[in-house]
Amino acid sequence: MLRRLRQSVRLKLFVLMLATTLVALVTAVAALVVYDSGDYHDRVVGDLTTQADILGRSSVAALAFDDPVAARENLALLKVRPSIREAAIYNDAGILFAAYGGEGHTAPDVPAKPAFEGSRVQGNDIILFHKIVENGRERGTVYLRARYELTNRLLDYLRILGAVSALSLLAALLISAFLQRGITQPILDVTDVAHGVMNSRDFSRRARKTTEDEIGYLVDAFNNMLAEIGRRAEALLKADRMKDQFLAMLAHELRNPLAPISNGLHLLEAAGAKPEVAVQARAMMGRQVKQLVRLVDDLLDVSRITTGKLTLRTEPVDLRSVIDNAVEIARPVIDTRRHRLSVDCPKDPLYLEGDATRLAQVFSNLLNNAAKYTPPGGTISLHASVEGDRVKVIVVDSGIGMTPETLDEVFEMFTQANTAIDREQSGLGVGLALARYLVEAHGGSIEATSEGMGKGSRFVVRLPLARAVQPKAGRPAPVEWGLTSGHRILVVDDNRDFAASLAMILRDLGNEVRVEYDGLEGLSAAEAFQPTIAFLDIGLPGISGYELAKRMRGGGLDEDSLLVAVTGWGQKDDKARSTAAGFDYHVVKPLDPAELPKILRIAAEHRARVHGT
């Protein structure tokens, strides 16, 4: 019963109603009993006193003229009052004058003389002695003994309470059955739907709303939550599907460049003879490696965006240089597909507050996209203009265009047009998503429009112009070449191919190079070799690159030696950690060979500064 009570709202309501009714009843009866018992006593005493007074007055003459017979006749009238069991009259001297009651009215229990004045309750009886006073003189006393039926009255009340309780129980049952329709039924409906949803995972079910009260509100809220859960479940499923698709595509995209690279290697190994074949193979392999690097860069960007770690290095940049860079990046794809590209940009410099590299990425992604989704020999145009306090850059192609549905999704991560023309250059489907993210991070906006399938696409980017512009004097000076030879260089990396290829390039530049593959060997080599530059991997077997750098710095290495951390991790705190370990320079893999002369030059300048030469 208690268990059912805890689980059933209906039963709770019923018990509540019953308990309330019973408490009210008991309280009312208790109050009535308390009041009535006092009232009953007063009434009985008052009644008996009146009776005694009438008896006394009518017996005054009998007492005065010594006529007990007349007195007895008066008392005999009490026959009509069966509750009065005994009565007596005493004269003014307190001597029994006339009596009434008992078997055959012999009145054996009548007291011999008045015991007290007033009334007293004795067991189930009440006894009253009442003085007869007339014309200021005491004439005698009347004695009455009557039944005092308080207990019986209480029993009567209990019986009434019992009967009324039974009736109210019945009424509570009926009312609760009636109310259940208004209160419990809607709740039960919701509960049913909740059960159904839990069992079948069917979020399209809805509870029926039958009332406008709090329960109605609850039903609405419940239904809204179901709708929300349904939406989220669907979104999760969709995201899951997209991730699956993305993984499949990623594998495919990463696999694609590997085949030509592998073929190129074969050619290089087998050929040896024909130099023109080797040149072609190297060029082809270089393109494929670039494609691989681009894919991984995109992946890293996606990872940075989703983890919120993408940071912009903002500075005033000229839109013109940004667009030039973007065109330069996209040029190979455009040329490969024989598109005609026209760029129309205002002559005057337009300064933006932004990250030059990332902005170039935005436009190169747009141009790449246009090139990919336009049949070979198409036209692509980039048009930049000022619009109020913003610049507007429009990229238009004569490509396959988009349906209105695709327009909605084109900026979503991992989305691609299903009808990619050239799978070879299709990418990961993150280019436009990155573009949108970067544009918005710069406080701009991007939108896509298309007249429909086959009618080309049009992307519009709007970016805020910088307010107060202090342009840097011209472009950064080109890297000086020179001072790149004659170094003693130590390379420590457990990736033997990378280490070997790096060593090869450095030797080619005219340096003495030594290669080690783990941390401890690297340390002993450093002591023996005393390098002027050391390229150290961070994730080394034995001791880590950080530890190695620390020990090398502590182990008598020339203080003018340059330590370069070469690592796959390029986050800010990674750099801070390498600086703390004693590195002078931090480069992220893959190390661009074009960067090497710059590092060597810095090392030479560093050395010259320390030695004061």
Partner: protein, 188 residues
């Protein structure tokens, strides 16, 4: 059986009489029946005053005393003096008067004519003032105009009443008095 009953009644009457007067048993036993009867009658005479209403004109002055006159029964008069000592009726002091054989009938509110001499009774009745409650103790006195007449019934002093006479004399008798009367003549 009858004798026993009579005896019991007599004893009861005696006991009640004693109770009424509150006289110690020792003295009561010494008294004769006659004396007892006189004491009872004296007490009754005094008590009639409680159950009779006299008009104001029954008194000469507002402060006139309440007079009880006793003709031919000095013993009764003496008892009355004892009983009424220090008492009053309706705020009036009580005055007891003996009326000798040759005395004129005085103005009294209650006039007790003792004895069984009907001639004397007739005389006194004629002489009695209008508002006098005439009490007698002879059989047939009511017919002659007496208002209350003592009788002895079952060895007890009882009385009978003539409402007719009371009315003639302008007196109003309490129904409670009528209730204990042995006999009431003339319907109220």
């Amino acid at each position: 059986m009858g004798a026993l009953r009579a005896f019991t009644a007599a004893v009861l009457a005696l006991v009640f009489a004693l109770n009424v007067f509150g006289i110690p048993d020792a003295r009561a036993q010494a008294e004769t029946d006659r004396a007892l009867e006189q004491r009872v009658k004296a007490a009754f005479l005094y008590r009639f005053a409680d159950f009779v209403i006299w008009p104001d004109t029954a008194f000469a002055k507002p402060d006139s005393p309440f007079v009880i006159a006793v003709a031919g029964a000095d013993g009764v008069a003496d008892h009355l003096r004892t009983i009424t000592a220090g008492r009053s009726v309706g705020g009036r002091p009580i005055e007891i008067r003996r009326v000798g054989a040759s005395d004129p009938v005085p103005t009294a509110q209650i006039l007790f004519i003792s004895g069984s001499d009907r001639a004397r009774l007739r005389e006194h009745l004629r002489a009695a003032p209008r508002y006098s409650l005439v009490v007698s103790e002879v059989e047939g006195a009511l017919e002659q105009g007496s208002v209350i007449n003592f009788v002895i019934a079952e060895d007890r002093v009882r009385f009978e009443i003539s409402l007719e006479s009371a009315e003639k004399r302008g007196l109003r008798l309490s129904s409670r008095l009528l209730a204990v009367a042995r006999n009431v003549r003339g319907s109220p």
